[in-house]
Amino acid sequence: MHKNFKNITAVVVFILMGIAFYENFQLMPAYKGLGEGVSDYIIRSGLSETGSLNLITAVLYDYRAFDSLGESTVIFGAVSGIVLILSRKMLPVSSRGLSFIVKRTLGIITPFIALFSIYVITHGHLTPGGGFQGGVIFAAISIIFSIVYGSAFDYRRYSPQMKTAFETVGALTFLGLGIAGIFMEGYFLHNLGFLTAETGTLISAGSIPYINMGVGLKVGAGLAIIFYSMIQKTFKEEI
């Protein structure tokens, strides 16, 4: 009786909340499209101002680059917290991995995954993609190593120190480009105009591709560290 009463109360409260939400949404003004405002400005002059074909990347790494810096700082904070909480020793938990067939197949596929992640990172200003997306694909390689080949293999090939170095290099790239913006253009994280070549080529859009590479390294190494820290303590020794 007591338990049922609690559940019924919760359901009634949530239904009332749903009705209140719905009424509030009825009061909202309709979306007017892109007639004016900042979105229209970015669509009209984003290409000529930044040289980046991908306007979403232009927003992320040029107009709101400071926000992206804060975002990568959030990842850094999460990684620091997880490593502080979970890892007291940086020794791997060994496991034998999956079967021979899976190991051989992924041995063939893994270089192409790496190539795809590098493509997604470096072409972030031309095609869909960018540092965050490519970095996640990059972290998938480390996760494949841990699951398929065993975490001892991952430890040997791609040690935690190396991951930490990658993350530091990524963060320093981002910060260095920001500080270079102060000295060369006058503002923090201003797009470095002298790097711009012909629009549509790989070396264009000022400092956006380099920021993309830094963010890609940072996100890839950060997610790999998170996964490694979690798998380290939760899987028991098998051999």
């Binding site: 559940n7 919760a10 949530f14 909340m17 749903g18 939400f21 719905y22 949404f25 979306y31 499209g33 892109l34 900042v38 979105s39 970015i42 669509i43 984003g46 290409l47 074909l53 991908n54 306007l55 979403i56 232009a58 927003v59 992320l60 709101r64 926000d67 992206s68 975002e71 959030v74 990842i75 904070g77 999460a78 917290g81 997880i82 909480i85 979970l86 095609t127 869909p128 960018g130 965050f132 629009t199 549509g200 996100v219 997610l223 998170i226 820290s229 979690m230 303590k233 939760t234």
Partner: protein
């Protein structure tokens, strides 16, 4: 409309899991469901039936969707993943000390 109704249902499902469920991992799933509802809504309401805001070389600009909500959503997804990882880490550590992930069985939190 349809988008608002889907948003409300998803958001309230997540909120229900966060408030009512006893299992800590289910609470994290509920939190992520609320985030997913917000991202879905932000992306959907800015969709005016145009293309993704990426110029093509040697072609005139067609009608684009709004690029700003998509960039904001990318930010939100990354931060959501970071917070989810941190929460799951805390649950792992809690499980090591208390041998439970049930909210009511943890000593000190149960009145």
């Amino acid at each position: 409309m349809f988008i608002n109704a889907v948003f409300i249902i998803l958001f309230l499902l997540g909120f229900y899991a966060l408030i009512v469920k006893k299992n800590l991992i289910k609470m994290v799933i509920g939190l992520n469901l609320m985030e997913a509802a917000v991202f879905f809504w932000v992306i959907s309401f800015s969709d005016i039936g145009g293309e993704v805001a990426i110029h093509k070389l040697n072609e005139a600009a067609v009608n684009f969707n709004d690029p700003v909500p998509q960039a904001l959503t990318l930010t939100g997804i990354v931060i959501g993943a970071s917070t989810a990882a941190l929460l799951l880490t805390l649950i792992i550590e809690l499980n090591k000390f208390t041998d439970t992930i049930d909210r009511d069985e943890i000593e000190g939190l149960n009145n």
